[in-house]
Symmetry: none
Subunit: 259 residues, 2 copies
Amino acid sequence: MLEARLGEAAEFKKVIDAIKDLVQDCNFDCNDSGVALQAMDNSHVALVAMLLKAESFEPFRCDRNIALGVNLTSLTKVLRAAQNDDILTLKAEDAPDVLNLVFESKANDRISEYDLKLMDIDQEHLGIPDTEYAATVTMSSAEFKRITTDLIAMSESVTIDVSKDGVKFSAQGDIGNGSINLRQHTDLEKSTNSVEIELSEPVALTFSLKYLVNFCKASALSTRVKICLSNEVPLLVEFGLSGTSYLRFYLAPKIGDEE
Amino acid sequence: MLEARLGEAAEFKKVIDAIKDLVQDCNFDCNDSGVALQAMDNSHVALVAMLLKAESFEPFRCDRNIALGVNLTSLTKVLRAAQNDDILTLKAEDAPDVLNLVFESKANDRISEYDLKLMDIDQEHLGIPDTEYAATVTMSSAEFKRITTDLIAMSESVTIDVSKDGVKFSAQGDIGNGSINLRQHTDLEKSTNSVEIELSEPVALTFSLKYLVNFCKASALSTRVKICLSNEVPLLVEFGLSGTSYLRFYLAPKIGDEE
DNA sequence: TGCTTGCCCA
DNA sequence: TGGGCAAGCA
């Protein structure tokens, strides 16, 4: 059986919120190391990979592997009933029909309990290779969100150029062109605004802005975002969660004429 | 003639706001004890009973019985012209064609005056028996509102179970089940959050959530709500107004298959 | 007609 | 930041 308790429902609510527009149904794969989710988006262009490690829960118990097939729209409805600072406990039997969610107010005067019906989901589990990326940009997630929403006004695509000194986001469209240049720098006053770049070789790749904007729903989860690029490999956009848990989005680059 | 003055227009505005989606046209019955309203909702499932007692007005004058037949949509339009902290005076002749509403700013630099045309409304006046309820729950109106809106995501109906120790709201639906348990308790820090239960015998009844959600528009009127239940008798949901004035909603339970 | 999403106000 | 309202879609 699974029993996993989170001190604050807010993070889980935000994670599901950030995923639910990309994926309708997916499995939560639970084992003794934590709860994992991996799914292609509906149009098979992007991939979401979430890992909530066991140490992010207190307590965490999961005796054996359980796959919980969840409809994320339904889960969102249920999670709307959780206050942000509620204690959230996920429970499931070993061969479950339902996922049991318990919300307890911190004051302990209210207990809400929901049973969410589960479904069987056949899911090809894609092994995601552990890539050494040519370029890794770590920056403010709010700024990344801002850049993507600004540029989507100009074009459907953005080209991300990473060089030693900085990163350039540029878009060409019917009404004109736009580009944002960020220098690598350490902001001593507001360290969340720093732009860090790790580079083995310069990279320039083009991506669909629609997806990037969508990924940025997760910007509420972390002040920082890590953007990893290599030629001919999907972009990785990673938001850190509590502990070393994470929410990752992958997006294949546009090639040639597609741009 | 009627002349009734309220220090703050806000309460009257909120009362009409809370009723207007249930009832289109109804009589304001005025006599020397105050202004009363009683009406079935359009589908004859729920009943609204409002009483604004004479002492809630200052001054209050009403020489004889007057029935003011008002279209609540029109009244809402007129009330939109009143600032929340305006002084509101209702006036009518003994056999009136119009209800006269005067809004005065507290600073006394603006006087708005509206005449609302009245209509003849034939209204069966239902005597509402003064029931001794088997169970009475008094709780935070915000929490009651929250519970009804949370559960309507799961189902059309809610079952309210009142026992000595607490009250349980539960709903079963296609995507799963949900329930909220509140223990009877006194919250010393935030007394509006206390849950009080008076019980002569346990009660479990099922009601349409759509109506309860609607009733909860009145939650802005009072931090507390009183929920009274007895078997085979309509539920009473009461919001206290200034003084001992009140706004009450009645709703017949669902029976058997209807659930 | 009801539900969902986006915008505006408190 | 959360709730309420209005518009657009299924």
